[in-house]
Amino acid sequence: MNNLKKSIRPGQLREFVLVFLILLMMFLFSTQIENYFSPRFFNRISTSVAIIAVVAIGQTLVVLTRNIDLSVGSIVGFSAYFVGQQLVQDNGLSPATVVLMAVALGALMGGINGLLVSFGGVPSIIVTLGTLAIYRTILVEISNAETVLTANLPEWLLDLPRSNIFSIGDLDFRLMVGVALLAVVVFALILRYTSYGRRLYAIGSNPEAAKNAGFPSRTIVFTAFILSGALAGLAGFMFLARFGNITVVAGLGIELESVAAVVVGGINTNGGTGTIPGALLGAILINILEQSLIRWLSISEFWRDFLLGFLILLAVAADSVIMSRIRNLWAQNGAHSKLGRTGTEGKDTHVS
């Protein structure tokens, strides 16, 4: 037991629990839905997870610093529409230009958020609630209520969602999924192995201390928002590729889904704890739930949101109850220092 505790951190345990939950859920649905494990189903889920996961990575960076980014839905919609519009006007734009354009646009919008939060001293929930509306409004204004139509987009873009890196039988491993996984790996490594990543944790862990520490905490929070915006911009491009038809309401509600993925994935809204793989698992869990509920013929599609909301709540509740128990256990048994520990809820010390 002690060895196990040494090799597994609470964060990792949490990821095992999520994997277990996902498997359990898939098993339960497979008993209810005929031909549940179809390749088509896998492909559909993997594509929609890919988009949410990319947004959720950015959201994770922001939430780790004890902030939140509610504007990502609008950024996804904005960049999807804007890039789509450029492509409609000029079918000859190169893929690299287009992706870069989407990412830069997202980074710009994220930068505005970050500027207001880090240097303007405005709480992130206020800033991003505001820009959620503002970015969407600008989109509506510049669009003149026109829609980007699939028919006007270049071939390569329309083929993108169906292009594979490799496939096993009918199971396709799509390029977009590859991009998302690459992003997951890159950012997981950044969080674990760079000083930038560790300082994101430090800031969320104790913002007061971070202010007086020997690193530029404001700039770091600022860049977290830029990255969140840039990733949302990338997701916007993926959104365009996947759906083709883009209206001004594109991406509406993605902010909720990304926050849900992050929260279910174990990233504490008080900052400081959580991992990128956790966020990915959160995104997978929510998407499987969503798609499976749609397919579950015995309930109407109208039940989907209701159950989804309830299950997110249950997941978080289970997490807060179970994980706090486990953490306590871990902390108690981890005491092997002369200076000692107060245990878990040591009331003799209050560290703010």
Binding site: R192, Y196, S205, F215, L339, T342, E345, D348, T349, S352
Partner: protein, 502 residues
Amino acid sequence: MTKPIFQMEHISKRFGATQALADVSFELYPGEVHALIGENGAGKSTLIKIMTGIYQPDQGDISLDGQPIRVNNAQDAQTRGIAAIFQEPMVFPDLNVAENIFINHRDFGPVVKWGKMYAEAEDILAELDILLDVRQPARGLTLAAQQAVEIAKAISLDVRILIMDEPTASLSLHEVAQLFKLVQRLREQGVSILFIGHRLEEVFEISDRITVLRDGKWVSTMPRSEVTTEGIIRDMVGREVGTFFEKTSVPSDDLLISTRNLSKEGAFSGISFDLHRGEVLGFAGLVGSRRTDVGLALFGIDPADSGQIIFQGEEQKIQSPEQAMSAGIAYMSEDRRQLGLSMPMSIATNITLPTLKKYLTSWGLVKRQAEDKTAEKFRESLTIRTPSIETLVEDLSGGNQQKVMLSKWLNANPKLLILDEPTRGVDVGAKADVHRLVDELAASGLAIIVISSDLPEVLAMSDRILVMREGRQMGILTREEANQETVMNAAMGQAAQTVREE
């Protein structure tokens, strides 16, 4: 004597209408421990914040190694080898010990080499003789351990000037001894230490020279060998203060509360004591001995899960603060800022907080006049120094805040008053006021529990002392039996046979 490493000359700093520092000068020599003392509001914190670059002085010069410098911000201070450790350590709870040591480093590098970092952290801790697992997260470390981490952090930064702002305020005697050993080692390495403290015994024990500030002005700087307790206190307060507290109250034999085998899983077990009206029972023990948990259980914040509380002859199951309050138990928290007082609210509001019901009309509206009357009464009787009872609590000094907190609970007319660290972070004058007040309350028939890490205080105030160690009751000492040695022995779990079990 060698040349000073660090000098401040004619430093002044003003905040709005308050002159926080006026023409203050002092210097630090290599390898000296220089104590900086003064009452709250004397300007110590401002001075430190100027040294560490958090504030800029309005006037005056700072020089390092004889060269004039400007400390622009915290990073700047760090580059110049100036670091500070605060009363509440600034650790990052979600990072592990090694990361906490290195997170501030400029040469932390863009990429974290975990293996190398762990190894270096272990080296630093070993050098300082600190036993901590470098992989363990900082969350859950004791305050003492967190301070050790901060010291290790400073050492790793090749610090030349270490500022310690009341580092002992939350430590037990044993931990203070450990800390002082560390300070000694740093001094031998040539580090200059600026030590800010409230407990004079400690200041005398550790420092080479002592500087006193009062009302933002420099009063005196003297070698330790030349100072006396009376002289220092006179310098601090600006008048003569009786240093010795004489206990006058005598316990009655009217039993108020008994506990039998009171226990809470994971916190404490087997707490049994009797407490009479007019009696002061001290709770002593090291930090981590769970004294506060017993207080919280009696007050119903974190109820005990087994054992009995017999209050006025009847067994009480106390499950919430409300139940405790209606029985007549009050608990004054050790943590004024987080748990004790609503800082951005007025004195009057805070005083009536637990008893607001008494000030409501039948429609549930607050009777402001009655409320103000109560607040004025306590302002007078406890000599709370404030322009008005409408003043916000956050604008008061620590001592006056403590008095507001006392008023808040006295107004509830408790039969049992639990005081947790009643003089923590309180200056000498206010401390004497609090001691006298507790004595008066006991004399008027209140039963009082005093939880305190300040051993001389517990010894002076208590009729009997309950000593705890790691959640267990080690024994109860009578006033005659109790002295520094017997209490410490019990608290460290040694020589239990000398302690009479009750």
